[in-house]
Symmetry: C2
Subunit: 343 residues, 2 copies
């Protein structure tokens, strides 16, 4: 699929993670070490799933937030490193299951678990990663942390169920879409930043600041998901490094299209509905044109920017410094980056 080459370059957040680079390496090491906790016979599968060359955004957010709220926990429990490992493992577990559902054969250039070993083993592999993550939670003395993580995990799965359920559903509203992505993507971002600040409450972080950390994660997660959904519509495979147009093909109605569907479409209404419900490749190309002409992408970019601005603002409550700057730099970079999408 050719797509519309509106995105010129990939988003690179590495510069913002620079201040926690050694800590991220430590987390990476810890993630790899988890494989050894499993039976030797299944270690290979676990290692493969854990080594997925992801961006490790969630661990980076945990660590940056830790630094911005009083420092990384260096007690033997290593609270922040543990939290970083947990959120990444839950994320990886959901990716393994997502790939089964999407029938995806590659992720970041590597064969997916389902492509290598089939659906049966991959269902179990995801379950194992998930169970292990929840076991790591028990290193925390605070039941509150365990509860928040279990809750977030449940939200992620529930959000995915809602999404699956509402495929090809032309009645899906924008608030419903936002709720779904808040569950499936926002939840893990939220716990990453909120719990990171929570761990530092004994270092003087206030309840208000903890809430600010939560709002930051929430808004960033929402913006990130809408951005990803826009790329699927407006990106090209070359520019973003993965297959585009897959959402529409699978009946996932995302924000740019939902913005169009809520307009008065007059005579075009039935044709658009037909293209969504049983369109072929060329129909989907036409739909993208409709989305562009009717401002669906522009609207989505504005929405992304609004969330990102809220993320930046929320952190004004934290003590100023290098790490607050890095955290605020991420949404700021995204704000100007997504500007290109709407041009």
């Amino acid at each position: 699929m050719s797509g519309l080459p509106v995105v010129g370059q990939k988003l690179d957040l590495k510069q913002y993670f620079a201040g926690v680079k050694p800590d991220l390496l430590d987390v990476e090491e810890r993630i790899k070490r988890q494989a050894r906790e499993f039976d030797p016979a299944i270690l290979g599968y676990i290692e493969y799933a854990l080594e997925s060359k992801g961006k490790r955004i969630r661990p980076a957010l945990v660590l940056l937030m830790a630094r911005a709220t009083g420092g990384i926990d260096t007690t033997p429990r290593a609270g922040h490193a543990n939290l970083a490992v947990i959120v990444e493992m839950i994320h990886l577990a959901t990716l393994v299951h997502d790939d089964i559902m999407d029938g995806a054969t590659k992720r970041r250039g590597q064969p997916t678990a389902v492509a290598k070993w089939g659906a049966e083993l991959s269902v179990l592999l995801g379950d194992c990663l998930f169970a292990h993550a929840l076991k790591l939670c028990t290193h925390f003395e605070e039941v509150e942390i365990n509860r928040a993580i279990a809750d977030a995990s449940r939200e992620v799965c529930s959000g995915e169920i809602l999404q699956t359920q509402r495929r090809f559903d032309l009645k899906l509203t924008i608030p419903e879409y936002l709720k779904i992505i808040s569950m499936k993507t926002g939840a893990l971002f939220r716990v990453s930043t909120e719990l990171s600040a929570f761990i530092n409450m004994e270092k003087g972080i206030t309840e208000e600041q903890r809430q600010a950390a939560r709002v930051y994660g929430d808004c960033l997660g929402l913006a990130y998901q809408i951005y990803d959904d826009c790329l699927d519509i407006a990106g090209t495979e070359n520019s973003i490094g993965k297959t585009t147009g897959t959402d529409l093909e699978k009946g996932k109605l995302t924000l740019p299209l939902l913005h169009v569907l809520q307009q008065d479409l007059g005579a075009e209404k039935d044709a658009i509905a037909a293209m969504i419900l049983h369109g072929n490749e060329s129909d989907r190309q036409k739909l993208l044109q409709v989305v562009l002409e009717r401002g669906g992408l522009k609207y989505s970019v504005r929405k992304i920017q609004t969330y990102l601005e809220e993320a930046v603002r929320a952190l004004d409550l934290l003590p100023p410094g290098e790490f607050r700057e890095a955290l605020q730099g991420i949404p700021s970079a995204l704000i100007s980056h997504v500007g290109n999408l709407a041009k």
Copy 2:
């Protein structure tokens, strides 16, 4: 598939559960109530999965063990009821995922989740149930309980991976088989009985008695799984109410057959291997004859009985009384019941 009608009647354990009947009804009510904790849009799926007309053996074991070790926890946290709900939810989550892998269309006469809603939704549904069970764990103040449950969950999935991995593997040994079923079935039985006793340690249950409760659950779980595996070979659909012969068809090598494979098979060896690896329906019938002739079923029944005797013996360490009697009655009933299998 016709099978061999060696099992005359179903095993009925209800009489042993009689002493905890009201408590089981309370747990049943609690299980149903969990559905309401989910988003209204997905409540229907959760309800369906939770209402599976299972035997609720694990909750019954939790409650009987509670009664046998000092009584059911009636503090607001309702430790035993909560534990019973958790182990059953984890069990149900694994059933939902198992049914996807087995392509099962019916379970206890009802369409499976995968038959009703497809694999995608069922993967997520299992995940949701699992995440929710682990959230319920956080009602316990004792991190030890959470850890044991997360550990058991991981063992269940790891055991299932090992099993999947070793399908059609003629080199699978009996100790390896026992390890797999100890993980995939023993683990949840073990935590059910051990943690139930653990909750009563403040009522005077000793570390030794806790271990005895663990051994009981472990042995009962192992015996139960071997029994189930034997039924798949020796039962008839009419007598046990589910499809038989499915293990062989899927390449799952279970104890009766493994006993044959470790014998000196001489000239028959290649023919037997061929029937296992790519046999048709009639080959599988022949294999069952070989298993019977070479004592595979008799051997398995002896193994079941050994485990069950160990389960009975372990509980001699508990204070005597009505509930210890009921707990010991379960393996005793199974011992005489499986006697029929080997005749």
